[in-house]
Amino acid sequence: MDREQKMLLKEIMEYSFALVETALYLDTHPFDQKALSLHNDYSRKYHELVSIYQAKYGPLTNDRMSGCPWAYINGPWPWEIEFDMH
């Protein structure tokens, strides 16, 4: 996995986590406009990044459509990725 792919994957993880945070906050503050707009920005960005990633590198999750052969099993698996990027 090259550096560019890793960076993109890390960015996806970052937005995914930010979405967990805003979603949990919104569960108890459903009318908070600032949190909503933050959540929506993150959501837009997250889905953008996921489509870019999947167009380039294949499916991130096994609920995606696939050509033949089944693309989900193409490596690397998460535990095969060296995430040390500092």
Binding site: K10, E11, M13, E14, Y15, F17, A18, E21, T22, Y25, T28, H29, D32, K34, A35, L38, Y42
Partner: protein, 61 residues
């Protein structure tokens, strides 16, 4: 004496637990949030005091 100890305003009752209501203010960037384990600076409470001092972080939003 007991009255003094538990506060005069009587808004906090004995044997009740209270959680202050969070109000969103500034947030960390997504990359900093993932590293710190929270999006919210007010919830960033590392056990290690040194870690707390290391990086105050950039806020946005």
């Amino acid at each position: 004496m007991n009255g003094e100890y538990y506060g005069r305003d009587k808004t906090m009752l004995l044997a009740r637990a209270y959680v202050p209501f969070q109000r969103i203010h500034q947030v960390y960037s997504p990359s900093e949030a993932l590293e710190k384990g929270t999006l919210f600076p007010e919830l960033y409470i590392p056990y290690d005091e040194k870690e707390k001092m290391l990086e105050e972080g950039k806020y946005y939003g």
